[in-house]
């Protein structure tokens, strides 16, 4: 990247400024390239996203897209707003990947979105009616040939039993004479009709699905491209009573707008429901549902312990390792460092599973090597010890990396000065190195705490909450808040995304509070030491 002198730098004395035209700022290659890049990506995204939005008639989405694209174009095409040019990409990503998911989670928390309540009421009604369509009892089976007459799509239907040929159109059935039948019992040709080949018919699949031939008992619909059947829907929705009636049994289900379901007088409901706003009920459920409130404190306490032990443990080990390799002139320091970072380089998913198998009572490496027969995941104490151990092994390389970097940033003169003043190595570490180190790493410790507080994988992929006591199958000894509520929301019957979102909001608040308190403490610390 070339750096050309900028004309603005040697601007004339201020007294003459008004008289002269504003000098053109010369542009560096890098600047031009990055500008083209941002504009190209911006317009590419706009061109990519616009057609689906138009197709879906999502005018709000389209407006937002247009506004964002216009903003990007304006900022990068104009010569002014230099700070904005740096801020816009970050802000766009912040909105897209942070703010939007948080808002989306929050809005989901107020709905009953979950299995059986995914779509709209219209979709539920469609599905109820479609899934009640059955063949009219005693009606014939038809072989179907799709044909065209005067540009209109027509079904040529052959009754498989009587071989009678009829033409089905949107107005009904009419007899056809002079049709030639093939060996498979389908119409090959008929006067006045142009029979479509299968590929031709396949190309008009949507029209075939849409064609409904009315009959006395119901309607004839295509069943694929080569068969048709006469069906009728047993359940029908009537808008005037906002209810679904079964024409066979006469049972009636009325729409319940609070539940998002059709409910009958006897309390039974149709499986297909829809998404409705349920207000704060997902949030209040956290307090009123005994399955959560009864276990909250014990889960919370273990969660805190797990997160604290993970953070302090990984930091302790990482720090010791980093100090051991810091400033010493030993051959192979680099090799040691690489070896120490190795667990971090391996995929955590696989490592959790490997550790889980190593803790197996009968076949696990640990019991075999130590000659033990411990059921590690069978008792709360040993299971908790095991998951923390696994987490330490996976987590310390990160802390080692971070502290190594921070240690190298601490000026060695400080240590030397302390030594000249008569400080012992311990004092030196305790009073000089550690405080300076903590200033750099405390934010990382806090974020690591927040991460481990919600370390779903560490539990899910190892013990999955085990051990469970015999009289309580829902809360395990190593369950974190997140793994327990995941089970509650997704494995307790059917998935409840709305409820899960409400729980996420709570955990978000909890972690937020803890982090805020920790950051406040850090600020005091900085004021003291810095």
């Amino acid at each position: 990247m070339k750096t050309k002198p900028r004309a603005g730098n040697d601007s004339p004395p201020s007294g003459h400024r008004r008289a002269l035209p504003r000098p053109r700022r010369e542009l560096s290659t890098g600047f031009v390239v990055s500008r083209i890049l941002v504009l190209a990506v911006g317009s590419a995204v706009a061109f990519y996203a616009a057609p689906p939005l138009i197709a879906a008639e999502s005018w709000t989405g389209l407006t937002v897209l247009a506004a964002a694209t216009a903003l990007i174009a304006y900022v990068y095409l104009s010569r002014r707003h230099l700070p904005l040019k740096y801020l816009v990409p970050g802000t766009v990503f912040l909105i897209a990947f942070q703010i939007f998911p948080v808002l989306f989670t929050l809005s989901t928390a107020f709905t009953n979105f979950g299995e059986g309540h995914r779509g709209t009421k219209e979709e539920a009604i469609t599905s109820i009616q479609t899934s009640s369509v059955a063949q009219v009892p005693g009606s014939p089976e038809y072989n179907l040939s799709v044909a065209v007459r005067d540009g209109e799509l027509v079904f040529l239907l052959v009754d498989t039993a009587t071989k009678q040929v009829q033409a089905g159109t949107a107005t009904g059935l009419e007899p056809v004479s002079g049709a030639e039948l093939g060996l498979t019992g389908k119409v090959l040709s008929a006067p006045g009709f142009q029979v479509l080949t299968i590929p031709q018919a396949a190309a008009r699949g949507a029209e075939i699905s849409a064609l409904t031939v009315p009959t006395a008992a119901g309607a004839i619909k295509a069943n694929g491209l080569s068969r048709a059947f006469e069906g009728r829907a047993a359940k029908a929705y009537a808008p005037d009573c906002d209810c679904v009636t079964d024409s066979a049994t006469g049972q009636k289900w009325t729409a319940d707008p609070d539940e998002g379901a059709f409910v009958a007088a006897d309390g039974s409901r149709l499986a297909q429901g829809w998404q409705v706003n349920v207000g704060f009920s997902n949030f209040t459920r956290v307090f009123t549902d005994p399955r959560i409130s009864a276990h909250f404190l014990s889960l919370f306490a273990w969660d805190l312990l797990f997160a604290a032990a993970s953070v302090l443990g990984t930091f302790g080990i990482g720090l010791i390792a980093a100090l051991a390799l810091h400033g010493v002139k030993v051959r192979g320091t680099r090799l040691y460092r690489v070896l120490l970072v190795l667990p971090y380089a391996m995929p955590a998913f696989a490592m959790f599973l490997v550790w889980r198998d190593m803790f197996n009572t009968d076949f696990g490496l640990i019991n075999r090597v130590l000659g033990l027969h411990t059921d590690w995941f069978g008792e709360p104490v040993s299971a908790r010890f095991a998951v923390i151990l696994v987490n330490l092994w996976l987590g310390f390389p990160y802390m080692f990396l971070v502290t190594t970097g921070a240690l190298q940033a601490i000026p060695s003169e400080l240590g030397e000065a302390a030594r000249i003043d008569g400080a012992t190595p311990w004092h030196n570490f305790r009073r000089v190195t550690l405080p300076l180190l903590l200033i750099a790493v405390t934010p990382l410790l806090i974020s690591s705490f927040a991460f481990n507080f919600n370390n779903f994988n560490a539990i899910r992929l190892t013990t999955n909450g085990a051990p469970f006591s015999v009289d309580n199958t829902t809360v395990g000894g190593t369950d974190l808040l997140i793994t327990y509520t995941f089970r509650l929301a997704f494995e307790g019957g059917s998935a409840e995304f709305g409820f899960a979102a409400a729980i996420s909001v709570f955990i978000f608040i909890l972690v937020g509070i803890i982090s805020a308190l920790a950051f406040r403490r850090t600020r005091y610390q900085e004021e003291v030491y810095a």
Binding site: G116, R118, E123, T126, T171, A202, A206, A236, N360, E491
Partner: protein
């Protein structure tokens, strides 16, 4: 996104209303007239069939889907979904970006239907009678047929014939033989059945049912009734499991889970394995001489009923090429030649009787597994089944580890009921 789905559903609604309006003796011309005109605007999938399946089936199906595409002059795209197939399918369907055909096990039907994501398929009486009875029973939900079955899978007892030449007549005989082999130092485990840390309701169900245990009551029509959870009443069955566990004979152990049980059998460390057709490849590779029989029942107990799982082709409700999807599911994969070709690519007992007969001739194991499933019941497809697995499994693992059976049964029953009622 929601708007797009709404537009699609409005068009669908028109179609269905055409059908229902006719049903209620009204002059039906008006709604039916408007439907064809509006539909092509929504449908952009003409001449293209999109299929979603898991990785195992994707590979096996590829040649047949291509063949179907050639015969019908359309392009067929089969997409492999490695993780969370059900959830991905539901989400994509909701957004209007789902496939036309889904291939999955039949026990998803309840959840797929309650989310309005699959359509019933209209099979003729003749077509239905060509399938094994249990396969059609499995894909029937609420009186409707929801898919075309293609493979039937259930557990059997796989026996190392070098170690145990005779098939055990009862669980007791099996345990006795396993104990004798263990004592003689020939094996290290009495029986290989996955239990795992969290229990495994699927693999233990034959024993559980033979010991008198059940999960649901039955409705008048013979379907599982989610309002009657009977796990709590099945404490005697849990007692039997307890006796086979850690504090009893030690035949069931939580250290054997889904990931190491087949390997343990394949390495010759146990003479008996309870597993399905999927285990055969590993067993063969290990060069073990084996035989497959039904999972035995307890002496004087009920029959051991394994769950029967049926791999099924579904027509997606919100697919773009529904006519093609129906053609593929109802007329193509129900053809015995296609079923046989599918079998050759992925050997699982075919659901079509004609194909099964051919498969049996080529590979006797297929017939043996079907025989082992004779007493089986289709895995319940009701959505409430999802609430069973975890609490039941935990209770199972607890009693096998020596926990009190009555307490475990009661706790599981409570957890399941709470989850279903909530």
């Amino acid at each position: 996104m929601r708007k797009r789905a709404a537009g699609l559903s409005a068009a669908l609604l028109g179609i269905v209303l055409g059908l229902t309006a006719c049903g209620s003796d009204q002059p039906a011309a008006a709604p039916a007239d408007s439907a064809p005109a509006s539909a092509p605007a929504v449908d952009k999938g003409n001449g293209k069939l999109v299929i979603w399946a898991d990785p195992v089936r994707t590979a096996a199906l590829k040649p047949f889907t291509e063949q179907f595409g050639k015969e019908n002059g359309v392009t067929v795209e089969i997409k492999e979904i490695a993780e969370e197939l059900q959830n991905q399918f539901l989400t994509a369907s909701q957004q209007g970006s789902g496939p036309d055909v889904l291939i999955a096990a039949h026990d998803w039907i309840g959840n797929l239907v309650q989310n309005g994501s699959i359509d019933p398929v209209q099979l003729t009486a003749e077509q239905k009678s060509a399938f094994q009875e249990i396969a059609i029973k499995a894909v029937t939900f609420g009186g409707q047929t929801y898919g075309a079955p293609y493979a039937v899978e259930n557990l059997g007892l796989i026996r190392n014939t070098a170690l145990a030449p005779e098939a055990p007549a009862s669980v007791e005989a099996l345990i006795e033989s396993g104990q004798a082999l263990k004592k003689a130092g020939k094996v290290s485990e009495i029986l290989c059945v996955p239990v795992g840390q969290e229990g495994d309701a699927y693999h233990i169900y034959p024993f559980y049912s033979s010991a008198g245990g059940s999960l649901f009551g039955t409705t008048a029509s013979g379907d599982p009734d989610p309002t009657k959870i009977t796990v709590g009443d099945s404490a005697p069955a849990f007692t039997k499991l307890n006796e086979l566990g850690k504090k009893g004979v030690g035949a069931l152990k939580t250290s054997l889970g889904n990931d190491n049980t087949i390997a343990t059998f394949a390495s010759g460390k146990c003479a008996y394995l309870i597993s399905g057709p999927w285990a055969i490849a590993d067993v063969k590779k290990a060069g073990i001489s084996y035989d497959v029989t039904a999972v035995p029942a307890f002496d004087g107990g009920d029959p051991a009923t394994p769950f029967v799982g049926v791999q099924t082709f579904y027509v997606a409700s919100k697919g773009k090429s529904k006519a093609l999807a129906q053609e593929f599911v109802t007329n193509y994969v129900t053809n015995p030649d296609v079923a046989m070709a599918l079998y050759n690519a992925d050997p699982r007992p075919p659901a079509l009787t004609a194909a099964l007969d051919q498969a049996k001739a080529a590979n006797p194991d297929m017939g043996k597994f079907i025989e082992a499933g004779k007493t089986g019941i289709p895995m319940p497809a009701i959505p409430q089944m999802a609430a069973i697995w975890q609490p039941f499994g935990v209770a199972e693992a607890a009693v096998i580890n020596g926990g009190d059976p009555a307490k475990a049964a009661a706790a599981a029953n409570k957890a399941i009921t709470e989850a279903i009622e909530k």
